[in-house]
Amino acid sequence: MLFNSVEFAIFFVVVFCLYHCLSRRAQNVFLLAASYFFYGCWDWRFLSLIMISTLVDYTVSLRMANADRLRRKGLLLISVCTNLGILGFFKYCNFFVGSAEAVLSALGLHLHTATLSIILPVGISFYTFQTMAYTIDVYRGRVKPTRDLVTFAVYVSFFPQLVAGPIERPQNLLPQLSRKRRVTAEDLASGTVLILIGLVRKVAIADAVAGIVDEGFANPSAMGSFALVCAVFLFGLQIYCDFAGYSDIARGTSRLLGIKLMENFNHPYFATNPTVFWRRWHISLSTWLRDYLYIPLGGNRGSQWFVYRNIMLTMLLGGLWHGAAWGFVIWGGIHGVVLVVHKFLLRGTKAPDRPSLHGLADYLRVAFSWAVTMLVVFAAWIFFRAPDFGSAVNVLSGITAFRGAAPTLSLLKTPLGFTALVLLIDVPQYLTRDHTALLRLHWVAQGVACAGLVIALVLLRVGESVPFIYFQF
C-alpha cells in the first residue's frame, strides 16, 4: 500500500475518522492494528519480524530497570544481536557470502557456497534502528522503559513512518503516544499542506523524472555526455524528492493523527558545505549514526586521526545501511572523505548552518563553496544509483568524454523545468524556515498555490503508483 495510491487514501480516511472517535488507550490499540494491517499489505509473513523486535526490546528494556551494570550490558547485547541478526540475515547475508566467495576466489580458493533466495522485508532497516535506539537509550538511562506494551508496539510500528522513516527517537515519539492527542485546526491545515507538498515531490517530480534517469543509467555507453549529466542531475532531484516527499507525507499524516514526527530533510541542496549537507539530508539517520555509532566510537574526542577514522567508519557503515552493495559503501566513503577534508579545513571551528553574507566577497565564496559541495554530492550519486561499479565508471567516463549533442535550450527544458518546480517549493520554505510556508501567504495566494500544486500533481503524474526508492533500503 503506497502513500501515492488510492488504496492508501481510502485506508487513511477510514483510520483518520475512526481514530478521532476513540479514547487514548483505544487509539493506540487501533493504531497498532492499523499499522500491522498496513504492513501486512506488503507481506504479512514479515509482521513476525516486527513482533519479535518489539517483544525482545520491550522485555529487555524492562529487565534493565533493576539490573546491575554487567547484566544491563548483557541485556543490551541480546537486543543488539537480535536486531542486527535479523537485519544482517535478511539484508546482508547473500552480500557477505558473495563478497567472501569473490575474495577467496581471487586468492585461488574456489568455494561453492549456496546463496539463499531471501526477500528483503520492507522497512526493516528503519524499524530495527528505531527499536535499537529505544533499548540503547534505556541502557544509557536517557529514557525510562515503558510498561505499556501496546504503546511500545505502536512506537515500533507506527504506520506513517514504518517503512521509510523518519527513524524516530523514543524521547520524541513515546511521550506523544502516551498522552492524549489533540489536533488543532492549524495541525489539520499544516498536515494537509505537508501531504500535498509530499505528493507533488513524489508524483510530479520524482516519478516524472524516473524514466529519464533509468534510461541514462541503463546504457551509459550509448548516451551523450550532456544526456548523462542530465540523468545524474535528475537522479539527484529524484532521490531528494522521492525521500523528502515520503517524509513530508509521513509527517503530514501523523500530524492529522495528532503526532509530530521529526524533520527528516531541511533543504540539503542549499547546503554550502558537506558538514551542513549531512545536517540537512536524512536527518533522522545522520543523527542516529552520530548518537549511536559516531559518539560511541569516540566521536570528536582523541587525536585528529582518531576523529577522521570515526568519521570514515560512520560514513562507510551509513553507506552500507542503504543496501547490500559496494556502490553504497563507495558512496558513503566519498562522503566520509569530503567530511574529513572539510573537518580538516575547519580546524576546530563549527560550520554555521547558514552562511553569513556581508558583501560581494562573501557571496562569491559561498557560491563557490556551494558549487563544489553540490558537484561532490551529485557525483557521489552516480555510485549510489548505478547498478554496479562498472556502470558507475561508464557514467563517469561518458560524462568526461564530452561526446554527443551539445546542450540546447530544448534539451535543458526538462531539467530546468523540474528544478524550477523544486525551487518553487523549497525556496519559500528555506527563507521562512517553515515547511508549511504556504500557510503564511495571503489567503488568495494560498488558494492559488494549493490549486497550482494540485494541477502539477495531476498533469505530471505517471500512470501507475511508483514505489518509493527508500523502501528497498
Partner: protein, 358 residues
C-alpha cells in the same frame, strides 16, 4: 494558541482564512475543469495525437461521406490492410462509399463512439466491419479516447480493480482525464516559445491521406521493424494483460445497435506474421485463449479470423513489420476482403449488385 480536539466542535477554531483559501483553490480547479478540460478544442488541439485523430476522421471522412456502404473500424493494422478506393472498385461500389475509420491503437470503444455519434449516417451502411486485436480485451488498456468519450456507464462497464477508481475520478473531474492533452498543449506551446516555430505546423497538420485513411502512427513501421524485436512488440502489447470483459461488451453493444438498424456486422482479426502469432500463443496463452473466448461469445455478428499471413494468402514480404501490411500487402488484403464479402454476403456484394449511388 487555543488547542482543541477536532471532534470537539465547541472549541474548534478554524482560522477564517483557511476556508477562504480552500474556496479559492477549489474555484481555480473548477475553472480549469470547465474552461479547459471539458472543452472539445483541447482534446482536438493536436490532430496527430490519439485524441485529435478522432476529430480528423470525423471532419474529413464521416461528415463529408454520403450513403456509406461499408464502414471499417479498428486499429492501424485495419487501416493499413484495407484500401477504401480499391475495395469499392473490387465490389463495384460508388467512390467514397467505403469508410475506413480505423486508427492507431483503435479499439472497440472507438467503433462504438463513432457509431453513437453518427448513427444517422452510419446506420445506412450495408455492412460494418470491426477489426479486433489479440490485446483488445485487455482490461488494462485504457486509451485517451476512453478518457475523452466514456460516460459513467462506459466507465463502469470497463471494470478493472486497478483502472476503475481512476476512471471514476476522471468522470467527476475531467482535468484528471485530460492530463495527457493538457500536457501536450503546454509542451507544444513551450516548444514554440523556445523557438521551434515549425512544431505547430508539424503537429497540427491533419494526417489525412487521399483515399480517406488517416496515416498517423506513433512510430514509423520501418523503424519499428529495424529496432524492435518481435518479443518487444508483443510484450509491449500484452505484458500487462488482464482478462477483462468491458471491451467485449462494447463490441456487443455496437453489434446490437447495428442489429436494431438492420446493419450486419462482421468481426475480423486481420493477419499478422506467423512468428508473431506463434509467439503470442506460446508466451501469452491466457491472453490468447481469452481473446478467442471473448470472440466466440459475441452474438449476432459473423467472425473471420485471419491469424497469420497464410490464412490471408499473403507473402511475408507484404508486411512492414509484424502486423502492418505495406502497400502491396494492402492491395492483396483488400482483394482478400472483397472475396470474403462476396462469399459471405452474396446478397449485398455479388457481382451483379452494383452501387448506383442512389
Amino acid at each position: 494558541m487555543f488547542r482543541s480536539s477536532i471532534f470537539s466542535f465547541d472549541s474548534l477554531q478554524i482560522k477564517a482564512t483557511v476556508p477562504k483559501a480552500l474556496l479559492v483553490a477549489v474555484s481555480v480547479l473548477v475553472l480549469l475543469d470547465f474552461a479547459v478540460a471539458r472543452r472539445e478544442w483541447i482534446w482536438a488541439f493536436v490532430p496527430r495525437s490519439p485524441s485529435g485523430v478522432f476529430d480528423v476522421l470525423e471532419d474529413n471522412v464521416v461528415v463529408p461521406a454520403q450513403d456509406p456502404s461499408i464502414v471499417l473500424f479498428g486499429s492501424s493494422r485495419v487501416r493499413d490492410a484495407v484500401a477504401p478506393r480499391l475495395l469499392e472498385e473490387e465490389l463495384g461500389l460508388r467512390e467514397g462509399s467505403v469508410l475506413n475509420l480505423a486508427m492507431t491503437a483503435g479499439n472497440p470503444f472507438d467503433s462504438l463512439v463513432f457509431y453513437r455519434r453518427h448513427r444517422d449516417k452510419l446506420s445506412g451502411a450495408r455492412l460494418i466491419i470491426i477489426g479486433v486485436e489479440f490485446w483488445d480485451f485487455n482490461a488494462h488498456g485504457i486509451s485517451e479516447r476512453d478518457r475523452r468519450f466514456a460516460n459513467l456507464a462506459d466507465r463502469l462497464q470497463l471494470f478493472d480493480r486497478k483502472k476503475t477508481p481512476a476512471l471514476l475520478v476522471g468522470w467527476l473531474w475531467r482535468t484528471w482525464d485530460a492530463k495527457a492533452v493538457i500536457s501536450r498543449f503546454i509542451d507544444i506551446e513551450t516548444r514554440w516559445l523556445l523557438g521551434e516555430r515549425d512544431i505547430m505546423q508539424q503537429m497540427r497538420e491533419p494526417p489525412i491521406e487521399e483515399d480517406g485513411r488517416v496515416e498517423w502512427r506513433t512510430d514509423e513501421p520501418a523503424t519499428a521493424t529495424a529496432e524492435e524485436p518481435l518479443t518487444a512488440v508483443a510484450d509491449r502489447a500484452l505484458s500487462n494483460y488482464s482478462a477483462g470483459y468491458g471491451r467485449r461488451r462494447q463490441v456487443q453493444h455496437l453489434v446490437d445497435l447495428a442489429h436494431e438498424d438492420g446493419v450486419p456486422v462482421l468481426v475480423v482479426l486481420f493477419p499478422m506474421r506467423t512468428e508473431f502469432a506463434e509467439y503470442v500463443r506460446a508466451a501469452y496463452p491466457h491472453a490468447y485463449a481469452h481473446f478467442h473466448q471473448q470472440l466466440r461469445s459475441i452474438k449476432g455478428a459473423r467472425i473471420r479470423i485471419y491469424e497469420t499471413e497464410r490464412d490471408a494468402h499473403l507473402p511475408q514480404e507484404c508486411f512492414d513489420d509484424y502486423g502492418h501490411v505495406n502497400k502491396r500487402g494492402s492491395e492483396l488484403m483488400t482483394s482478400e476482403v472483397a472475396v470474403l464479402l462476396r462469399d459471405w454476403y452474396p446478397e449485398l456484394f455479388s457481382r451483379g449488385i452494383r452501387d448506383t449511388g442512389a
